[in-house]
Symmetry: C2
Subunit: 381 residues, 2 copies
């Protein structure tokens, strides 16, 4: 098992990574401050892992100062429908209702068991319930394990924009059981690899080279390769989050491919492409624009594209999104300022910058080229 | 004009109090960090004051670093339906929709123009939009001016509990134009006085005595008396908030009468009694319980009751709420811990404590006596 720390002063928390962690009560016991626990999961992950987690939590006890003795936890669970399409304000209601029906108070903890959507929704519900209660991330998809479970960004989508409603709310702990990846379908798995590739491109040329050497092992889900990829990704994310918790500067680099990607997800309707698939195409669009600006060489773009293809990810945006629609959607991105589209662009493999200072014609050319071509390797679902 | 400061380090902000402030651009200009402004108001206050505020904001300019010049603000407005019954997650949607339709970004500011419901909803929308944008409180009811606009508590109700979903989000400024009280109806005005009385009971025997001497002038809305009552209330609240921003201890004292009051509001259905009316009855219930515990003298209880009656406020809970229903509703209060009902109780006029250590039979007697009697001075609406 590996353990990292996200260093945020009073809000610091550990990330535990390893096989079988869902069955180990210790990490949960350390992170709990009260005895009321609500597991929030979804209709896909719940049937697979909810019972295992409940069994583990049955071994955890909590000190009750009123009775001066240790007591068993009070555990309940809520299952959300599975999918990005349900990541809305409305669909938080079952979480709030259950917390209130059970009389859960400010000392209660939410445990988010699932992928990025579950983590974002459960985390946001924790941020808002009684103006903030604790939560623990138990990510079960590769994407959530390497990205969304770390860093405290929580929230839901609005029909006019993705992740537009939310809060910064750090978890008490992140518990990553790598065994849960065994049940992840291929598209979901590949989607997670998009974010791993991202860490290489924005800040870690060594990780990028390691990925070029080990993409085969990763796609085969070899345990050692998985643990390394997850640990290095979490390290990269933790370092950036510690330096810039609320996205004043450096943290924005994590959005490489995301402004293009969000436009894709919104433009074709949430849930048709997975977030990681849209990000993969977005990274290639950012790389293409960087090439047009003279920052990336043709060779570097080809290396990124080749790695993306080997990961089983799309490298082109869907054919039915026009340049005009793309620009419109990109302007409502959270990074936009006064209508100006700020983009994360790689300057080389292992370095990136946030800028609104680029030739708009180059962006137009990227959008035209990437939307007009039929996807060479689109999502397989 | 008077000015106070809420001292919260980086999150400190000024409170401006005085007649005619809606027409003065200076305070708004100082508080704005960007040029996009969304006024959130309701269908009662909007028609009265929205245009005046827009005219004032037309005089404010904002420096645009991209163009290196000062520009006029971009101002829009959203009108919510008036009433506590609409203070729900659903009813935030028009705010988010307008912000997104206008392409408002993270530098945008929400201006909450209205009473406590508008301030709580607009503030919560500001807390959540793109994970947090600025907002300015422009409270137009006495209750909002002396209480809810100061301190950063924002949120909405859930059908199972009041203010159960929300965030701590401090405003950039509070602008209190005392002229707006001229259009406030009598019930709303009296409801505000309940919170002023509360500050006297929990921490300021001098203020309580001042109120006994000046309640006539306040009820007549004499400007000098109003300004004094608002300033002293804001000072009391600002001091408590500065000492305890997130309600670890002292801040809980502000909830005198609120656990009983919330039970009343929820029990009879939001909107039938005003918040301040429910709090007034709740303060008397807390005083009655404190008397039964031997903390308050009969004379002190009578002084509180007499002042409450003079303010035109109810002193008894509605007749149709049983003891059992009261206890059930009080157990979901945010201050409850593991089902235990924690209450703020006065120990004398000018002092109060938060405790769960009281004789449950005394609470039962208070609930029986206060629900069984017909209200001697119920809300007049």
């Amino acid at each position: 098992m590996e353990q990292l720390e996200v260093d945020l002063g009073e809000r610091s928390y550990p990330i535990h990574i390893g096989p079988g962690l869902l069955a180990e009560p210790g990490h949960f016991g350390q992170a709990l401050r009260g005895r009321q626990v609500l597991i929030v999961t979804n209709s896909t992950v719940g049937p697979l892992y909810r019972q295992r987690l409940r069994t583990t939590l049955r071994e955890v006890t909590c000190f009750n100062p009123a009775r001066q003795e240790r007591e068993a936890l009070e555990v309940d669970a809520v299952e959300l429908p599975d999918g990005e399409a349900y990541k809305t304000l409305d669909h938080l209601d079952p979480i709030f209702t259950r917390l209130l029906e059970r009389g859960f108070d400010r000392s209660a903890t939410i445990v988010a068991l699932g992928g990025g959507v579950v983590g974002d929704m459960a985390g946001f519900a924790a941020a808002c319930y009684q103006r903030g209660i604790d939560f623990i991330q138990v990510p079960t998809t590769l994407l959530a394990q390497v990205d969304s479970s770390v860093g405290g960004k929580t929230g839901v989508n609005h029909r006019l924009g993705k992740n537009m409603i939310g809060a910064f709310h750090q978890p008490q702990a992140v518990v990553i059981d790598t065994d849960t990846l065994a049940t992840l379908d291929e598209r979901q798995f590949a989607a997670g690899l998009a974010e791993v590739i991202k860490y290489g491109v924005i800040g870690d040329a060594d990780l990028f080279a390691w990925l070029e050497a080990h993409m085969g092992a990763l796609v085969d889900r070899e345990p050692a390769a998985l643990t390394t990829a997850i640990r290095r990704s979490c390290e990269a994310k933790a370092a950036i989050v510690a330096a810039d918790e609320r996205e004043g500067g450096q943290r924005a680099l994590l959005n490489l491919g995301h402004t293009f990607g969000h436009a894709i997800e919104t433009g074709i309707g949430y849930g048709r492409w997975l977030h990681g698939e849209a990000v993969a195409a977005g990274i290639l669009m950012a790389a293409d624009l960087a090439r047009r600006l003279g920052w990336l060489s043709d060779d570097e773009v080809h290396r990124i594209e080749a790695l993306t293809v080997r990961a089983g990810l799309p490298t082109r945006a869907p054919a039915d999104l026009s340049r005009e629609r793309f620009l419109e959607l990109m302007r409502v991105d959270k990074k936009a300022q006064a209508g100006e589209i700020r983009l994360v662009l790689p300057t080389t493999i292992g370095n990136a910058t946030v800028t609104a200072d680029y030739d708009p014609d180059a962006l137009a050319a990227t959008l035209d080229e990437h939307h007009a071509l039929p996807a060479r390797l689109g999502p397989r679902g």
